[in-house]
Chain length 355, copies 2
Amino acid sequence: MIAPGATIGILGGGQLGRMLALAAAELGFDTHIFTPEDDSAAARVAARATIAPYEDEAALAAFAAAVDVVTFEFENVPARTAQLLEAGRAPVRPNAAALALAQDRLVEKQIFRDLGVATAPFAAVDDDAGLAAALTTIGAPAILKTRRLGYDGKGQARIADPAAAGAAFALLGRAPAILEGVIDFEREISVIGARALDGGFAVYDVCENIHRGGILAITRVPAAISEESAARAIQTAKNLMDRLDYVGVLTVEFFVLAGGALIANEFAPRVHNSGHWTSDACVTSQFEQHIRAIAGWPLGDAARLADIEMINLIGADVEQWRAFAAERNAHVRLYGKREARAGRKMGHVTRLLRH
Amino acid sequence: MIAPGATIGILGGGQLGRMLALAAAELGFDTHIFTPEDDSAAARVAARATIAPYEDEAALAAFAAAVDVVTFEFENVPARTAQLLEAGRAPVRPNAAALALAQDRLVEKQIFRDLGVATAPFAAVDDDAGLAAALTTIGAPAILKTRRLGYDGKGQARIADPAAAGAAFALLGRAPAILEGVIDFEREISVIGARALDGGFAVYDVCENIHRGGILAITRVPAAISEESAARAIQTAKNLMDRLDYVGVLTVEFFVLAGGALIANEFAPRVHNSGHWTSDACVTSQFEQHIRAIAGWPLGDAARLADIEMINLIGADVEQWRAFAAERNAHVRLYGKREARAGRKMGHVTRLLRH
């Protein structure tokens, strides 16, 4: 067990890094943020910060030598960066291999299939011929997604008509892609689980998510799904984490069909926006849970004490902070970002609905 | 209302400053800690820190110019320091006058009397003649306390036998003191209230406290007292805050006699150890409540969602962190202090008892 007083190294300076750093501080840890961003949200609550590009090998080596464990607020870490960190003195949790798998939508889908979980129909698209073949198999409408670096609806283009396929591919810069069939789902859910160093598993209640413009807008817990669907979703998350020899918090997103069947969509090897409610409705938040796991501590209690909803404050939504601050029974959480750009996650609000 | 993105200045680098800084960060504020202590617990979670003596006038002026509001984690701020801060651009909340009153046990007792609240019998002691006179009035056993700079049982000496009074006075360095009669109380309670800039008031459920060696050991909520006693305690706290034109969180400690009568003991113009449970059982913690108040925000919801107990980890108690980390339903909170000296508050644990 990594003892209080040790330093947790976190790659990434955004709101997830900030909330991880706050949770680490509550357990008596120091944090050290590594980020290319000057004046980042996370660095302003950390004991130390290294401001350098993720490709700066000297800075990475110094960072790895200065901390007792390394973790991440996001999965799109260059493979070389993760390798350099793993060559350091401090353990890297979750492991770099798990990050690498989550970076590639095609590999992600193949893992779900290997685990016996349904996915949307998909096919790899590397060139125009591959795109034509994929459209023949999958049909339109379909969604073309870059294999790498997609999040919050970025790197995606909908193909309603096969005639427009070439334009969609061009829009994505003709990067290696995956064509996915469109799923007629009833709702979207996510499972946030944690796996300890000794293989121990804890999971939060399944979350129901509403996206707008490809970005999470609202999460409600409990999700309006059957116990059977919830149990299958949770088992999938556990199987995935066991398979990856995972340490930390991991999130799996699913579509739920009208009959209750599950379609695995993607996973994120990290704490997740759809788990922010855990800070306000659970004994152990997803952030503390992740810190406990990577520090080799036993996992905390993931039991939910209240029904709750979370509303994301995106871009100019943050201007509503005064109204939310005046609302009874609401938690306002703001991330300290300097500029409220469109589509940028600026904060969130949770409302206890029943307890 | 001071908007998110502004900087909260906090005097003091201990655990209360740390927890205030963490709460401020959750609302999107930056924090700037002023403390003479190098590598302090609070500075390691703050955006900025000034490390300078409280008497460093240039450092205080620069600090006051760099922040948007000034507050305190403790009341024993030199009067000159508070005056210098009040001369700065940023408002000082709570006001320096309230701090000054709380620094003097004699003044504190007189305020309680002015508010019509019972206190232990007391008399000022400035010299040997005064001590003899006080002992004649109050009788032995009694407790001699320095008027200033007392906390956690420091600056106190019990006088069991009038013959030993001179030795007790010498032990306290013959500093201006107050002799207090010993109260035969049934239990100790505290009330943690908050007053907003517009006079709005919020209060947490009354806490029951168990001290050991003059230091808080355990807090349990709810307190085992009558509704009537609780209502009177709360009304006293409100009256005191109104009288001081107070902004922020303030704590009043009482003794409860066997019949339910209240004896006001002392007040602290700040967040308080006996309120740490609010972070885990309330929508709004005492730390967030204080930040809301000093930022001119509406007060948050102080409703309690669970029965709870808090156990202080003092000195070597902190070595038990592994056992507490493995306990279901418990929150472990450690303060990041480097050295576990005897009597030093190193962390605390809360246990949800019923929810």
